[in-house]
């Protein structure tokens, strides 16, 4: 069984800038790979190359054993795409959106009527079958977008920020659906800005910064490699001496959020910190992906 997605050495220039710079990415069946990174890291461009919107300047992409550059149409038969923006067809009803999408695939999905009914049921869209998609709430629009991406029974699904703008209940509804799809054997590439979403759903993470993968692995490995073992949280107003302490260790300014510094440290550094500032009041917590984003966004 070939790897569902095998991308190697992807490079893309846009507007004279090297936006993606040698990205490798792989995804197996029944696996969710989270693609993370701050704005401008090259996530969307990478994703657009992976699902065939953009041609890479260098590198190769194989989907289910088929090279995208050689047989794009065949490779795309195995791909389902849920874009970040709603791109359903506003001239058709919710139900028709699923059937019209199926007409853009060859071989045509077998038993289409049953497939559409099954997706309508599964994504809880039956009550809206004859409505226009724009009348749906944000959560149901996302459900329709994901259902549409699945109508032709793809093996690899791309979800580009699938829960952006949704309320917590709707987000968790989408998580359940995505989790269910993984358990059925679908490979899923997920981009998100929600760190809890990436941590809960992803089996593996790839973190992009300035067009390169700067870390990959489980959330725990990535955080340990890039952030540190602990994060010291301290009121910036109390810590006038801290920048000097950091500077002596060759480190820059700590990340500041609403007047509070979040200072990633190793176990050894934490002990040194405690010795250096015995009178300070601070909190020590485990690192999160938010810390990772803050750190990456501070890097030049």
């Amino acid at each position: 069984m070939p790897t569902l997605l095998d991308a190697r050495g992807l490079v893309k220039h846009l507007g004279g800038r090297r936006v993606v710079d040698g990205v490798d990415l792989a995804c197996e069946s029944a696996q969710i790979v989270g693609l993370l990174g701050p704005n401008g890291a090259g996530k969307t461009t990478t994703l657009r190359m992976l699902y065939g919107f953009l041609r890479p300047d260098a590198g190769s992409i194989h989907v289910n054993g088929v090279e995208l550059g050689r047989d794009l149409v065949r490779a795309k038969r195995a791909i389902g795409v849920c874009t970040q923006d709603d791109t359903f067809d506003g001239d058709f009803t919710v139900e028709q959106n699923l059937s019209i999408a199926a007409h853009y695939f060859r071989p045509r999905p077998t038993d289409l009527g049953r497939r559409v009914a099954e997706l309508m049921e599964r994504f809880d869209l039956v009550g809206y079958a004859r409505d226009k998609p724009e009348t749906l709430s944000g959560g149901y629009r996302r459900r329709l977008m994901i259902a549409r991406a699945l109508v032709h029974r793809p093996r690899l699904l791309f979800l580009d920020e699938p829960t952006t703008g949704l309320d917590p209940q709707a987000r968790m509804g989408v998580w359940d659906l995505v989790d269910g799809l993984r358990s059925e054997g679908l490979g899923i590439i997920l981009t998100t800005h929600y760190m809890d979403e990436a941590e809960r759903l992803s089996d593996a993470l790839a973190v992009l910064a300035r067009g390169r993968v700067v870390a990959r692995g489980t959330a725990k490995t990535v955080l340990g490699d890039l952030v540190g073992e602990h994060v010291v949280v301290i009121d910036a107003a109390q810590g006038a001496a801290i920048p000097g302490w950091l500077s002596a260790r060759g480190r820059g300014e700590p990340a500041s959020v609403l007047g509070v510094w979040h200072l990633p440290v190793s176990g050894e550094e934490l002990a040194e910190f405690a010795r250096a500032f015995p009178a300070l009041r601070y909190e020590v917590r485990g690192p999160t992906l938010d810390d990772l984003f803050l750190k990456l966004s501070l890097q030049p």
């Binding site: 065939g52 795409v81 874009t83 001239d91 007409h103």
Partner: protein, 267 residues
């Protein structure tokens, strides 16, 4: 030449099929404009303005203005339908409805979307031409027109080819105008002059207009339709219309594709 091959691939037909499905669902409103427009135009230009035109000479014989203008209306309907569909219809689907982006997440590629729009402009304009033809037949039966309608159906394939060329021209503007408000520029600078200053409504006599219209496929389409429906030489103009339309397709479709690749895909 993969851009050319895409015209014949199933994805382009699937895109046309989608547009046709939307159109036929609203058939009762969709069929009204092409039926009413020639009636209004014939009333305005034929019965109204035509009343002030004593007579027109067509290849050495006098014809009444209504009869002169009727083939022009058939060609004009082909032109305007195709160009407005690929201008406003395609722009709305690309920019506001995001229909193109949805199609591109499937096995449809941008070349198919572009050809789908061009072929749909051709098909829709031909359907309009058929409806206008039926109106002309009705007016002929009512004794308003004096046309030779034997070869009328033979004009429809020519309408299709020319409309595909006009569709490619409309898509060029769709590819370059920044917002829908900027559509006024191509409409008033290119589309209306091309439509009104051809031989649609009056015979061309000014040497500058005559020279300019040698390169205007709409002018040749009008004259070919007149040749067939009123009587007179048609083959040269028909060849001119078809060749210029083919040239528009050969030059503009690859250019549209290139510009739209940048605009839609950011590539």
């Amino acid at each position: 030449m993969s851009w050319l091959r895409a015209a014949l691939e199933w994805q382009s037909r699937a895109v046309v099929g989608r547009h046709l499905r939307v159109y036929l669902r609203n058939w009762y409103t969709s069929f009204l404009p092409p039926a009413l427009e020639p009636l209004t135009m014939l009333l305005a230009f034929g019965a109204g303005l035509g009343g002030y035109v004593a007579s027109l000479t067509w290849h050495g014989r006098p014809v009444d203005y209504m009869t002169y203008v009727a083939p022009g209306l058939l060609a004009y309907a082909t032109f305007m339908t195709a160009i407005f569909q690929s201008l406003f219809g395609a722009f709305i689907r690309m920019r506001y409805q995001k229909t193109w982006e949805g199609q591109l997440t499937t096995q449809v590629e941008l070349a198919h979307v572009v050809w789908g729009e061009v072929l749909w402009a051709g098909l829709l304009a031909t359907m309009y031409a058929v409806i206008v033809s039926l109106v002309l037949v009705g007016l002929q039966i009512a004794g308003v027109l004096s046309l030779d309608l034997r070869w009328l159906p033979a004009l429809w394939p020519a309408s299709f080819v020319a409309a595909c060329g006009f569709g490619a021209l409309g898509l060029l503007f769709t590819a370059i105008v920044p917002t829908i408000d900027h559509m006024n520029l191509p409409v008033f600078l290119v589309v209306l002059p091309m439509g009104m200053l051809s031989s649609t409504y009056f015979p061309l006599e000014h040497p500058v207009l005559v020279a300019l219209n040698l390169a205007n496929p709409l002018h040749h389409l009008c004259q070919a339709f007149r040749g067939v429906l009123i009587g007179g030489p048609a083959a040269g103009h028909l060849a001119g219309a078809l060749l210029l339309s083919a040239l528009l397709l050969a030059v503009l479709v690859p250019l549209d594709l290139r510009l739209l690749r940048r605009r839609v895909l950011g590539d």
